[in-house]
């Protein structure tokens, strides 16, 4: 089903690719990080459409990061696609298991139970000295189906991979959200009991959504690990998860493109806040967050679509 959104996403891909290739390296790197984290936020969007927010996405993200790092260091796997497959496998498998428990919860309990699990992973990683404890460890330079780019070309290759994957993932999720299973999410948010009366298991639907969110976070984690070249337990800490939720609220849930857009804005905002007010950047970020929550309840995407509608009139 190729609809306007898919064309829009394709156009966005071309713009991002164009921008990324002419931009300075640091901006390209920022874009890679933003897109990778955007995928985690996209996972949150899938959950939020079903009325669920998780304060523990760092768990799946961290699993992806560590799967990629460990596969390289212990198994000698450097192929980016194989790492992606491993990262997805790791995060979805754990999500499948924990999902039996997590899918029973809603609202704040869902958010907090997720957080508890991510904090347990954090605790385990901090205790594991083979994995460098809190210092983490460096990830091997990736190869791409046998192609080992030179140091100069590596950044471009990782960027190309990230941008294309973001596009593919966004289209897939767009299709999923448009399907019956996708819409069930919104039905669950509105009234779970009625969903059950219709003969659908809300728990199973939530379980699947969790696994989708975990897979997306796993991809984001693997790409982050490849791009940064280093993993550490901070990636599973609750503040990292909180950051994802922050970006999700900033973006809004209006479109699958929103998380990526929000993520890019967030990274840019933060890096400039860091540069221009190194002593009060947290305050600046907090203030932006408050303003968005108060004045843009639907996130930045709602502002964008509102202005577009305005033009149409």
């Amino acid at each position: 089903m190729i609809d306007r959104t898919v064309w829009g996403l394709f156009a966005a891909l071309l713009v991002v690719l164009g921008a990324g290739f002419i931009a300075a390296d640091w901006a390209q790197f920022l874009l890679v990080l933003a897109l990778a984290k955007g995928m985690v936020v996209l996972g949150l969007l899938v959950l939020m459409r079903a009325g669920l927010v998780s304060f523990g996405q760092g768990l799946w993200y961290g699993l992806g990061c560590y799967a990629a790092g460990m596969a390289g260091n212990f198994l000698g796997v450097t192929d980016a696609f194989l790492l992606l497959a491993l990262g997805i496998a790791a995060s979805t498998t754990v999500a499948f298991i924990l999902g039996f428990l997590l899918s029973r919860y809603r609202e704040i309990f869902f958010a907090l139970l997720n957080m508890a699990f991510s904090m347990i992973l954090f605790g385990v990683l901090v205790k594991t000295s083979v994995l460098g404890s809190t210092d983490g460890f460096n990830v091997l330079t990736p190869t791409f189906l046998g192609y080992a780019p030179s140091e100069a070309a590596l950044g471009d290759t990782v960027f190309l991979l990230t941008a294309v994957i973001s596009f593919v993932v966004a289209v897939l999720i767009h299709w999923y959200l448009g399907s019956t299973m996708g819409f069930i999410g919104e039905a669950i948010r509105e009234n779970e009991l009625r969903v059950e009366y219709l003969g659908v298991s809300a728990r199973r639907a939530v379980h699947i959504k969790l696994m989708i969110a975990a897979a997306l976070s796993g991809i984001g984690g693997v790409l982050t690990a490849i791009a940064v070249g280093h993993v550490d337990p901070e990636m599973t800490y609750w503040t990292t998860s909180g950051e994802f939720v922050f970006v999700a609220i900033l973006s809004g849930t209006g479109s699958v493109a929103a998380p990526f857009m929000g993520s890019i804005i967030f990274e840019v905002l933060r890096t400039y806040a860091y540069e221009y007010s190194p002593y009060t950047w947290q305050m600046l970020m907090g203030a932006v967050m408050l303003l968005v929550i108060i004045f843009l309840p639907g996130g930045l995407w709602s502002a964008l679509s509102r202005s577009r509608k305005g033009e149409g009139k």
Partner: protein, 298 residues
């Protein structure tokens, strides 16, 4: 034997501290359905203002025991001011929004206050050790304990009793219980929920600040102390049941004793014992030990 005593006493002391820190959080959640991440900042504000005031107090020649009164007074003042700004200034604009959105708003306030504290007090740690040493040391079964720590148990008991009495034996408390039980009906019955919210937030904020102020003498007050506290307090109230006052007591005791036992018997697991207990409780009783299962809306 010695270890058992140590576990019990350490566990009780730690539980008292957790109780003081977490009770404000649960009160606010119970009445307002706001999981207040900025509670950590209130704790930090309380600790900083107490440490700062006590530093000044001991430079004068006033009687040292008066420092305890100063300690509590500073927490009340800073808690009231902060609650006015946070609740009336910001949160009021968001009532009726999604619980999660309000959690994020308090997270934003938390970020702002983190830097605010840094701007006001700088990054150098503050000391307020004088009250801690004032009470001296006592030996229990050959183990030295600071009396200040033991006194915390008493303070926690007093606070617990006051809150219980306030909720169950006063008119306002009964109104609050009505709001906790069913907000919509309470509004329909003519209860001024706005006023109650402001009041509850103020009490919760003062309790958070008090937690910080009472801890200040035993620690070195430094940036970032709020981050650690908030996750711990979350764990305690989730274990006990969000919004439940007896739940906080039980949650604090469980966490306190488990942690003390872990430290003495199995130090390796200390880092995640609290989250493990929290996950276990949530898995068995999602609403927490004392929480009420939510009535499903049709």
């Amino acid at each position: 034997m010695l270890t058992t005593v140590a576990i019990l006493v350490d566990g009780l002391v730690y539980a008292s501290w957790l109780f003081i820190v977490a009770i404000g959080l649960t009160l606010i959640y119970g009445v307002m359905k706001i999981l207040n991440v900025a509670h950590g900042s209130l704790y930090a504000l309380g600790a900083y203002s107490a440490a700062w005031i006590i530093g000044i107090y001991f430079q004068s020649d006033l009687p040292p025991y008066g420092s305890f009164a100063v300690l509590i007074l500073s927490a009340v003042v800073i808690g009231l001011i902060a609650s006015l700004v946070i609740e009336r200034g910001v949160l009021r604009l968001m009532y009726g929004r999604d619980e999660i959105v309000i959690v994020l708003a308090t997270f934003a306030i938390f970020l702002i206050l983190e830097d605010f504290v840094k701007l006001v007090w700088g990054v150098d740690p503050y000391f307020a050790y004088q009250p801690y040493g004032l009470l001296g040391r006592v030996r229990l079964f050959g183990l030295g304990f600071a009396i200040y720590d033991l006194a915390l148990i008493g303070v926690a008991a007093v606070i617990g009793l006051l809150v219980w009495w306030g909720l169950n034996r006063t008119r306002i408390g009964k109104l609050l219980l009505a709001v906790i039980y069913d907000r919509e009906i309470s509004v329909a019955m003519g209860i001024n929920v706005n006023l109650l919210f402001a009041g509850t937030f103020a009490v919760g904020a003062v309790l958070g600040a008090l937690g910080g102020a009472l801890t200040a003498p035993a620690i070195s007050v430094s940036p970032g102390i709020g981050v650690e506290v908030i996750v711990l307090a979350f764990a305690v109230v989730v274990i006990g049941g969000l919004g439940s006052v007896p739940g906080v007591l039980i949650g604090a005791l469980i966490v306190g004793i488990c942690r003390a036992a872990a430290v003495h018997l199995l130090p390796e697991v200390e880092l995640f014992i609290i989250y493990a207990v929290m996950s276990l409780v949530l898995a068995l009783r999602p609403q927490g030990l004392f929480g009420r299962a939510a009535v499903r809306k049709i």
